[in-house]
């Protein structure tokens, strides 16, 4: 029996944005969203507690599976020498960028790094919450934030340490 679409249009837009963050390409993001919805409608029972979060996890797993199938490595090993601290989060928050710089930055980040930024900027999660959401140790997330900051500063030295508050 065909199930009714359980998501509203703003929710689908939100999911589509998440897919865009992973894929960075509209057509691939649409494909991923469609695959995820199909799987969700086929598999999940109607009493999923947090349908959006559940589907987002499915989308993430699907994306990772696709990347693996295509032999694209999206998970990098952690930088052993990274001196990450809790300040990494604040350091990034204090950076100033313009739209062109942001586009350039996004184009050099990996899908995992973009996802961390999405959870941090759009969902407003802290490093601890991101770690819980991704099922990873907090240190891993802080390390990612540290490396992100390094990439941002390398790409855009003028923004380093520029406080806006």
């Amino acid at each position: 029996m065909k199930r009714q679409m359980p998501f509203t249009r703003p929710e689908l837009d939100q999911l589509f944005n998440y897919c865009m963050v992973l894929c960075m390409d509209r057509d691939n993001a649409l494909d991923l969203l469609q695959d995820g919805l199909e799987k969700y409608l086929h598999q999940s029972s109607t009493d999923v507690l947090l349908p959006l979060a559940y589907l987002r996890r499915m989308l993430r797993n699907l994306f990772i599976d696709q990347q693996r199938r295509n032999n694209i490595i999206i998970f990098e090993s952690l930088d052993e020498n990274a001196q990450f601290t809790a300040n990494s989060e604040n350091d990034i928050a204090n950076m100033l960028v313009d739209e062109m710089e942001l586009d350039r930055i996004l184009s050099v980040l990996t899908a995992v790094e973009r996802e961390v930024l999405y959870l941090w900027a759009v969902d407003g999660m802290s490093a601890t919450e991101i770690a819980l959401s991704l099922g990873q140790p907090r240190g891993t997330v802080l390390s990612r934030l540290h490396r992100l900051r390094k990439k941002l500063v390398q790409d855009n030295p003028a923004s380093s340490g520029a406080a806006y508050e």
């Binding site: 009714q4 689908l12 837009d13 944005n17 469609q34 409608l41 928050a93 313009d98 062109m100 900027a121």
Partner: protein
Amino acid sequence: MNKQPLKTLLKEKLTGQQLNDLEYAWLGKGMKPGQRNPVWIRNRWLAGGLALAASVLFVIVFFIDPSDEVISPSVSTLESGIVPGIVDPSTTNPSALRIAEEVLTNHILIKQMDIETGSIEEVRNRFDKLDFAVLASRRLPHDSLTLLGARYCTLQGFIAAQLLFQTHEGEKVTHYQAAYNETRFGPLPDISLQQSPIILAERGYTVEIWREAGLVMARAQAAL
């Protein structure tokens, strides 16, 4: 350029995408497993075809007969990525393809008008849900077109107006207006800067896209 806190700009950027009406309808109606929406599959073919056409055009213009001033585009048109009268420039702005696809679908499946009127002023006054004022575009030959009516629609997720015209020969012409947003619509030629509209042809129709007075505008009609 205006610098903003990374978090603010990121949030804007990463939440700026929306499904268009067709995509939403396709996902909402419960697709068959593995079956892709023909609209976005076609977009890929169209994009690929246009990229190939642009490459061929580049070779023709710059290598085969460089001394021929008639076919060599001016520096300004090249800078803007627009070659007048040639189906191409969307290769520099993929969102133009999506706009064209959306416009074309709206044109082919013309829906019931929200108001029937022959007056642009009346459309402007009665369409109070728009976040812009409907204008009589300089690009349209108003003397040879009769306005039949208008309805609300969307362009790339933004609220828009569709105006339905008819030529003296009885040919339908649809015209679209929405508030221009560069993030959503990408760079488009502004006719007030003497830039030529993007012209695309598909399935026997011609779609023109341009900017005018802070609005994104499009026109669709059968290719004659």
